[in-house]
C-alpha cells in the first residue's frame, strides 16, 4: 500500500510561494517570475503533483469566440496549500535553527 506523505519539495514550495504572493498565474508566468528556478518543460509536472496533493487548483481560461489555439490553465493555491506552505516554512525554519544551534 503506497503511503502519501505531506511533503513540500523546494520547487513545489517555490510555486506555492509565488501563487500565494502574487495571485493566480499561468504556468508560463510562474516560469518567468521564478527567474530561472522553474523550467518550461517541467513546471506542469510539478503543478500536476501539487494539484494531485490538493495544494493548488486550476481552471482553463475562457477563450474569446473565434480564437485559435488551446486554452491555457490558470493556477491558484487552495486553502490547504496556503496552510501547508505556512506549516512547512515554520518546520523548515525550526529544523534549520536547530541545526545551527
Amino acid at each position: 500500500m503506497s503511503e502519501i506523505r505531506p511533503t513540500l519539495p523546494a520547487k513545489e514550495r517555490l510555486i506555492l510561494d509565488l501563487l500565494v504572493g502574487s495571485g493566480p498565474m499561468y504556468g508560463l508566468q510562474l516560469v518567468e517570475q521564478s527567474q530561472g528556478a522553474l523550467k518550461r518543460g517541467t513546471v506542469y509536472v510539478t503543478l500536476g503533483r501539487l494539484e494531485a496533493k490538493g495544494f493548488v487548483e486550476s481552471e482553463q481560461e475562457a477563450l474569446p469566440p473565434g480564437a485559435i489555439g488551446l486554452p491555457r490553465r490558470i493556477y491558484r493555491p487552495t486553502s490547504l496549500g496556503e496552510r501547508m506552505l505556512r506549516a512547512w516554512t515554520v518546520l523548515v525554519n525550526e529544523f534549520a535553527w536547530n541545526a545551527v544551534k
Binding site: Y26, R40, Y44, V45, P71, V92
Partner: protein
C-alpha cells in the same frame, strides 16, 4: 474532460497528436495541453518578429520534448485514481522510457538490432490496434484503490527503505548481470555513478540546511 483541437496549421497541432498517442487523457489535459498552449501563446506574442518567433518555437518545442523524455520518470505522479476504479490506459506512460532503452540496446549491441527493430515494430502495431479497439469499446477496469498496477517494469516494484529493500535490489541486479554479461560494465558504472550522485546530493543538502534534507523515497516509482 474538454478536448480542444486546434485548427490545422496552428503551431502545436502535430505535437498534440503525438501527445495523445503517448499520454492518457488526464496527463494530456493537465500537463501536455498547457505546455502546447504556452507554445502557442508565446508564438502569438512574438508577432511578426522573426527572431522572437524562432526563439518562441525553440523554447516551446524544447519544453514539449523534455516533457516526453521525463514522462516515464514522473508517470506515477500523473496517474489519476478514482474511488475504486481506474480508467484503462493503453497509452502507457512508460512508453518513451522503453523506447529510449530499446534504442540504446539496438544501437549499442549490433546483435540485438534485428530483435529490437522487430519488437519495436510489432509493439507499435499492437499498441495502435489495442488503442483503436479500446477507443471504440471504452471500459472501466476495477482495481483496488491506492495500489499500483502490476507491470513488467522494475520501476513499479515497491521496495522498502530498509535492509530487505537493499537485498532485493542487490539480488535483482545480480540476476540481471548474470543474465546479461555483456552489460556488466554498464551496471558497474551505474552503481559507481549512483553512489557519487547520492554523495553529491547529500553534501549539497547538508551544506544548505534551509533547503531541507533529501526526501527518503526508496519506492522506485
Amino acid at each position: 474532460m474538454t478536448r480542444s483541437t486546434p485548427t490545422r496549421g496552428t503551431p502545436g497541432t502535430w505535437l498534440l497528436k503525438v501527445a495523445r498517442l503517448v499520454f492518457n487523457d488526464a496527463v494530456s489535459a493537465s500537463i501536455v495541453v498547457p505546455t502546447i498552449a504556452d507554445l502557442q501563446a508565446d508564438i502569438k506574442a512574438a508577432g511578426e518578429d522573426r527572431a522572437q518567433l524562432l526563439r518562441a518555437r525553440i523554447r516551446g518545442y524544447a519544453a514539449f520534448w523534455k516533457l516526453i523524455l521525463l514522462a516515464p520518470f514522473a508517470a506515477h505522479a500523473w496517474t489519476v485514481r478514482e474511488e475504486g476504479t481506474m480508467t484503462l490506459n493503453t497509452r502507457s506512460n512508460g512508453f518513451p522510457g522503453w523506447l529510449v532503452l530499446a534504442g540504446i540496446l539496438g544501437f549499442t549491441s549490433p546483435a540485438l538490432t534485428p530483435w529490437t527493430v522487430t519488437v519495436l515494430v510489432g509493439g507499435l502495431v499492437f499498441a495502435v490496434a489495442i488503442h483503436l479497439w479500446y477507443s471504440r469499446h471504452p471500459i472501466l477496469l476495477a482495481t483496488r484503490n491506492g495500489e499500483g498496477r502490476p507491470e513488467i517494469n522494475f520501476s513499479r516494484v515497491p521496495v522498502g527503505g530498509n535492509i530487505g529493500g537493499l537485498i532485493f535490489m542487490a539480488g535483482s541486479m545480480a540476476i540481471l548481470v548474470s543474465g546479461l554479461p555483456m552489460w556488466r560494465w554498464f551496471f558497474g558504472a551505474a552503481v559507481v555513478g549512483g553512489f557519487l550522485t547520492a554523495g553529491l546530493v547529500y553534501a549539497w543538502h547538508t551544506a544548505r540546511p534551509s533547503h531541507g534534507l533529501p526526501e527518503n523515497y526508496i519506492h522506485l516509482r
